[in-house]
């Protein structure tokens, strides 16, 4: 019985005898595993970032959006929804005008206008840092008041200035600035969430001449309420328009799922591309092992003559392949993790090396060692000792 430890020792001596070749063989696996780790980390990072940004919008949210202008969400729907479905804690209508022209006394800028309700701070979990948010009464009376993002304040009035009480022209109407919302930074898709003007949706709807509400955001108090309310609101609009596809009602959980599955496909795609280089690394191992078997024919003959069985020789060469692939895999994980960190700091997007991707690529490299090492090992073990001894 030739023990495993002895096999590993004998295999190690075989590998250590040719260090440069060993390194070059490993390099294929190192690059393969490092590519998998680094590229998958990009996908995983994108997923984590998308998830955290969706969650940053608030929690337990539901968006309601008609598919096409034939289906109108109206003001009276809001009261009905509120009365019928107690799970809904807040309803936030949304009207928007992108890249509208806005003027202060000194500057003219293009900025996104967001029309919303008085519950905005509660739903979006984003209050004002100075001044105040507009009230329900402001919304009802379509008052021309505006709350600005910090970037917009800087663009319109200059850095560090106090905009409260000042007038701006939005879509050729005069608004009074009453507050500045808390800073939030860069959002999904890279837009600046602090470069915007928030006004009552009623006011913006009137200026834009809308006779409908483009979309609603509902907030519930729990995830269970959110699931119930999603179904209830869907049923409400199906009944109203007699069309199952008239209005899309999507909870935040569903959105997270959708985004999660998209980024997962992205991650898998990146992983698959990187796996090709890992497979090439495996072929490199097979190539070198075949060369090694033919170079060491005499050694194999000697070992067989003094009592090595087929299994002993098979195990020796298989373990050599495994040492190459597993060591290459381990180094590849380290290089890949460094690469992920490098990508993150150079390219500026988030990367995430997960335990999963480490485990998967490590077992992948182990599998490659077995698959690509088996055939050369089999060839070695099948050598006839008489023929092998005769070879120089």
């Amino acid at each position: 019985m030739f023990t495993l430890i002895e096999s590993i020792r004998v295999a190690w001596l075989g590998i250590a005898g040719n260090k440069l070749r060993t390194f070059l063989t490993m390099l294929g696996v190192i690059i393969g595993v490092a590519a998998v780790i680094a590229l998958v980390s990009v996908g995983q990072g994108a997923q984590a970032q998308a998830t955290s940004q969706i969650q940053a919008l608030g929690s337990n949210l539901i968006t309601v959006m008609p598919r096409g202008t034939a289906y109108r969400i109206e003001e009276k729907d809001l009261d009905q929804l509120r009365q019928r479905f107690p799970q809904i804690a807040y309803i936030l209508p949304a009207v928007s005008s992108s890249q509208a022209t806005v003027k202060s006394d000194t500057d003219t800028v293009k900025v996104d206008i967001e029309g919303t309700g008085a519950d905005y701070p509660a739903v979006r979990e984003r209050g004002v840092q100075t001044g105040s948010f507009f009230s329900a009464e402001d919304v009802e009376t379509r008052r021309r008041v505006a709350v600005l993002g910090t970037t917009t304040v800087t663009n319109l009035f200059g850095a560090g200035s106090d905009p409260i009480g000042r007038s701006i022209r939005v879509l050729n109407q005069t608004f009074t600035v009453i507050g500045v919302v808390e800073k939030k930074g860069t959002g999904m898709g890279g837009q600046d969430q602090d470069d915007r003007i928030i006004v009552p949706y009623t006011t913006l709807g009137r200026i834009m001449g809308l006779n409908r509400i483009p979309s609603l955001t509902l907030k519930t108090n729990s995830s269970e309420d959110s699931a119930e309310a999603t179904q209830a609101v869907t049923d409400f609009y199906v009944a109203k328009f007699r069309n199952a596809d008239a209005v899309r009602v999507q909870s935040q959980d569903q959105l997270l799922e959708t985004v999660g599955s998209i980024t997962q496909i992205f991650t898998l795609l990146l992983g698959a591309i990187a796996s090709i280089s890992l497979a090439v690394g495996g072929i490199g191992i097979m190539n070198i092992m075949l060369v090694s078997v033919s170079e060491r024919t005499r050694e194999i003959g000697i070992r067989k003559a003094i009592g090595a069985k087929k299994r002993d020789v098979l195990l020796q060469f298989l373990i050599e392949a495994l040492i190459l692939s597993v060591t290459g895999g381990a180094v590849g994980i380290a290089v890949g993790s460094l690469g992920a960190a490098g990508l993150s700091s150079v390219m500026g997007f988030k990367t995430l090396v997960t335990l999963d991707s480490i485990m998967v690529s490590f077992s992948f490299s182990l599998g490659i060692g077995v698959i690509f090492g088996f055939y050369p090992a089999l060839r070695a073990s099948a050598l006839d000792p008489i023929v092998a001894l005769r070879r120089d």
Binding site: F2, L13, G14, I302, R303, A305, G307, K309, K310, P385
Partner: protein, 253 residues
């Protein structure tokens, strides 16, 4: 013939390479017995079946027909793995070209058959050191083959063969790659080992090597044509002394 229980008993052994008209009958119904403690030379010109017989005795190959009993056990019809086991336990090979594993030290080379036998490392080291000491290389265990002379390498190979306490020491032209003096030293070692009771079979075409054996078997066309006791057996050590080399030096080298 000296016989204290047959170590090797070969009956009607045939070995045919190829088939039909091109078939070569390397062994054609060969019979031979070697008793425990013998020292036999197997001789014959090339093509006589000498190498084939050596492969058969060494359990490297499987005969086409006939029986082969080694240390009382039928080994002619066993499978590859069983043959590997028999080689490991009963045969101590000594080759013309030494056939040491070049990347391993002398010690590791001697240990290798013991590894395949599954002997633990500490016991293995004791056995290997004992064998190396027996051939006079107890202090050279950490040397690699390329750091040793040809004679020393062949002695490491003999130590490797000895370490596993085989039933027979089987030499294939063991002095063929050595100059006459070191060849003589190796023959002296074989004679000593034989005097200690070990069975030695040397396959050779060299009459001088055969002259040191107790019995000479000659082959031709796959059968034994002569099998006689070597009455004028040479004593390798006495010859070394004649050559002006002190016996002690040989042992210590």
């Amino acid at each position: 013939m000296q016989d204290s229980g047959g170590m090797i008993s070969i009956r009607n052994m045939t070995k045919v390479y190829g088939t039909g008209d091109t078939a070569v009958h390397a062994l054609a119904g060969l019979n031979v017995d070697v008793g425990k403690g013998e020292m036999v030379a197997i001789m014959g010109p090339s093509g006589s079946g000498k190498s084939t017989l050596m492969n058969m005795i060494g359990c490297l190959d499987r005969p086409t027909g006939g029986d082969y009993f080694l240390a009382g056990k039928e080994v002619g019809r066993i499978d590859d793995n069983q043959r590997a086991e028999v080689r490991n336990q009963h045969i101590g090979f000594i080759f013309q070209g030494f056939n040491l594993l070049t990347k391993l030290t002398a010690m590791q080379n001697v240990e290798t058959p013991l590894i395949y036998r599954g002997i633990g490392s500490s016991k293995r080291r004791i056995m290997a050191l004992e064998a190396l000491t027996r051939v006079g290389l107890g202090g050279r265990g950490h040397h690699r083959p390329n750091q040793l002379s040809g004679g020393q390498q062949q002695r490491v190979a003999i130590a490797r063969a000895l370490a596993s306490q085989p039933s027979i020491l089987l030499g294939d032209e063991p002095t063929g790659a050595l100059d006459s003096k070191t060849g003589q030293e190796v023959l002296a070692l074989f004679q000593e080992l034989n005097e200690e009771g070990r069975t030695v079979v040397l396959v050779t075409h060299d009459e001088r090597v055969a002259a040191h054996c107790k019995r000479i078997v000659r082959l031709s066309d796959g059968v034994i044509v002569s099998d006689e006791i070597n009455h004028g057996r040479l004593d390798a050590r006495a010859e070394l002394v004649k050559m002006g080399v002190a016996a002690q030096e040989v042992a210590d080298d």
